[in-house]
């Protein structure tokens, strides 16, 4: 028996197939202009990898920003609940989950039983999200996936005071003009994001273990920076980008068992 979770995000759409509580395959595709197509495509790709077809799926649950547009899903659950579920399953001692996605960031606090206690979300603007880093990478003429590596080698992070994508971009431009090192600028950007996340974490209270998910968690510089700001080690799943989809699939499986 297999189930699927679809995370229809603003930048990427993820599909995860779960069999008996274990992740069996996943796919990540760009959401593009047509979110509905992306959901179908992600699911097909994941199914092909799992060597299954749609008939093998007993239930599909959608999540993420476009969750209500995934027509073939039986249920839609918010990304808060699915991230909590996915992260807690991979890291049973997780208490705080930080998720930084393409266009939003969120912090979720769990209780001892893994139930959601509180959450905060920033989804009003691109400040401190994947989109923000994408714009900065372009300004710095660096590939997005190289940001992490480069920042690690910085001696001292440059000071970035604005988190607004537009203002931060002009700050970066003037830092480049002043001859500041690229590495230091990137480290500075990471630090600015970390401080903003720290502010959100404070609202719900920091408790270990901390799990970091979302596409931005693939950035090793971001991880290092968050660890520095919090003064503790942070756990990152092997594929942090699919935790929402994985959680949705787990919820689908539970639902199947219940009914």
């Amino acid at each position: 028996m297999a189930v699927a979770g679809i995370d229809a995000g603003s930048a990427t759409t993820k599909a995860a197939i779960v069999k008996n509580g274990e992740l069996s395959a996943y796919a990540i595709v760009p959401t593009g202009a047509n979110g509905r197509n992306a959901s179908a495509k992600a699911l097909e790709e994941a199914l092909a990898l799992a060597k299954l077809t749609r008939i093998d799926l007993t239930k599909i649950v959608s999540t993420g920003y476009g969750r209500r547009n995934v027509e073939f899903a039986e249920n839609a659950v918010t990304e808060i609940t699915t991230h909590a579920k996915g992260a807690k399953t991979l890291f049973p001692s997780a208490m705080t989950i930080i998720d930084i996605g393409g266009q939003d960031s969120k912090v979720i606090s769990l209780d001892e039983d893994g139930r959601i206690n509180n959450f905060v979300m920033n989804d009003k603007c691109a400040a401190g999200t994947g989109r923000f880093l994408e714009v900065m990478a372009r300004t710095l003429e660096v590939a997005l996936q190289d940001l992490g590596k480069l920042s690690i080698s910085a001696e001292k992070p440059a000071k970035i005071s604005s988190m607004c994508t537009v203002f931060a971009e002009s700050e970066v431009v003037s830092l480049i003009a002043q001859g500041e090192k690229r590495e230091a600028i990137i480290a500075g950007l990471h630090e600015a994001i970390s401080k903003r996340i720290a502010g959100m974490v404070k609202q719900v209270g920091l408790r270990r273990e901390v799990v970091f998910t979302g596409g931005v968690a693939k950035n090793v510089g971001m991880k290092a920076s968050l660890e520095r700001v919090f003064g503790l080690k942070i756990n990152i799943p092997a594929e942090p980008q699919i935790i929402g989809a994985f959680g949705a699939a787990l919820i689908a499986e539970e639902g199947t068992i219940i009914s």
Binding site: T78, E79, I80, T81, R115, I116
Partner: protein
């Protein structure tokens, strides 16, 4: 309704073309958000009718009253003492703005970072799109928040606007004595405007009139303690909103008729949602017509809103005016007593509000509180800190939503609310 009332609107200097745009969108919004709800009580039909006639029938009545020599007074806040107005044979109408529609007109004059409620009513006045505004012989403002206070000065350029100074420490001796003096002065102003003397007898009668209205609304609120709630939060909000401009006697009777029906529902265990729908309280800034955004998002996401800790809610009808005797002074004292008890965030400290929220949460078996604050409303926005702490110690989760009248953030709000409901369900 357009054809029928064109002459009425012309007589009130309404900008017909702009006004038509407003009337063109309202019915659709009402159909989508309100009429589409399931299991609505039958007796909501009166209130649906009032909204469908929002700029028609009631305005016609007001114009007729005026023609008979009565004065119409526009108000923006619970602290505008209705009882005194009615005792002078005047009629009071609430003019708070709840529509995004009029904000572009206001934006041409006012700073951007101002609460939408203020911008909305100001925009209605200068854009000439609200017939209620156009009916008013006098406006009564009050010194509550700074934004309103300053905008009243601007309104005064268009309509005579009288300002009541509201004490911000109402619990103190000096606060009460200021309140009393302000009420006396307002009484004098009303007498001057209307030419009618406010006698002890008349004030007694108008206190009863308004108490009856408050009692009817309180009865409606009490019925929502049942699980499942017999009426949606959105419908209850609409009823309360209408209470600020409808004919008082007729409104009171209609609310009581609605309550009769709801009583039957409660007896038979009939509700608007299933028994397990999370019971929410909405607490914070007032929601003026046609601001239905938050309740409609919350309830379409599966919540059951059972109480509004708001000026368009419990703050209006929790306490009655209860004079200790029949003299004019007894009654004015009773008004001071009642008005000082309205826990507006403009007061300091405002512990009464925290206590009231705690009590409502218990009495209404609330499982979560949505703290509603309008953008740039500092008083309610900051007070969320204290409310949040108090609720936390009671173990009631709170979700704070800061928003305006646009629908731009509707999906983000929906996600937060759905997550909040999932969280509450997960704890059950």
């Amino acid at each position: 309704m357009a054809e029928k009332y064109v002459n009425l609107w012309k007589s009130l200097d309404i900008d017909l073309e702009k006004h038509n745009q407003l009337l063109a969108v309202l019915p659709q919004i009402y159909t989508d958000l309100v009429l589409s709800q399931k299991n609505r009580p039958k007796k909501m039909d009166y209130f649906d009718f009032v909204i469908s006639e929002i700029h028609g029938l009631r305005v016609e009545e007001l114009v007729k009253l005026r023609g008979e020599g009565n004065k119409i007074i526009g108000a923006f806040c619970l602290y505008a003492p209705e009882e005194l107005a009615y005792a002078a044979n005047a009629t009071m109408v609430g003019l708070c703005g709840g529509a995004d529609f009029s904000i572009p007109d206001a934006d041409a004059v006012l700073p951007r970072n101002l609460c939408p409620l203020i911008k909305s009513f100001y925009g209605f006045k200068i854009g000439l799109t609200c017939p209620y505004f156009q009916c008013c012989d006098m406006l009564v403002g009050e010194t509550t928040c700074d934004g309103k206070k300053k905008v009243y000065e601007l309104l005064n350029e268009h309509v005579p606007t009288y300002i009541i100074e509201v004490p911000h420490k109402p619990d103190t001796v000096q606060g009460r004595s200021l309140w009393l003096k302000e009420l006396e002065e307002f009484k004098t102003q009303l007498e001057k405007l209307t030419g009618n003397k406010i006698t002890a007898e008349k004030l007694k009668a108008s206190i009863e009139l308004i108490n009856d209205k408050r009692k009817a609304l309180k009865r409606l609120a009490e019925l929502r303690k049942a699980t499942p709630a017999p009426i949606s939060g959105l419908d209850a909000l609409i009823v309360t909103q209408i209470g600020f401009y409808d004919d008082v006697k007729r409104f009171t009777a209609k609310v009581n008729e609605l309550c009769d029906e709801l009583e039957e529902r409660v007896k038979n265990g009939v509700g608007v949602t299933d028994k397990n729908a999370p019971r929410l309280m909405v607490s914070g800034c007032p929601m003026a017509v046609p601001n239905w955004k938050l309740p409609s998002i919350a309830e379409s996401a599966g919540a059951s809103i059972v109480v509004e800790e708001s000026c368009v809610g419990t703050r209006y009808f929790t306490d009655m005016v209860e004079p200790k005797g029949d003299s004019l002074n007894d009654m004015l004292e009773a008004l001071v007593e009642k008005y000082a008890k309205i826990p507006c965030a403009c007061f300091t400290p405002n512990d009464a509000r925290i206590e009231s929220i705690d009590k409502l949460a218990k009495d209404f078996k609330v499982e979560g509180v949505v703290y509603y604050t309008l953008q740039f409303c500092h008083s309610y926005n900051v007070e969320a800190v204290k409310v949040g702490k108090a609720l936390k110690s009671e173990g009631v989760p709170m979700l704070k939503i800061e928003t305006d009248y646009t629908m731009e953030d509707a999906e983000q709000i929906r996600t937060r609310l759905e997550a909040f409901l999932e969280m509450i369900r997960g704890k059950k």
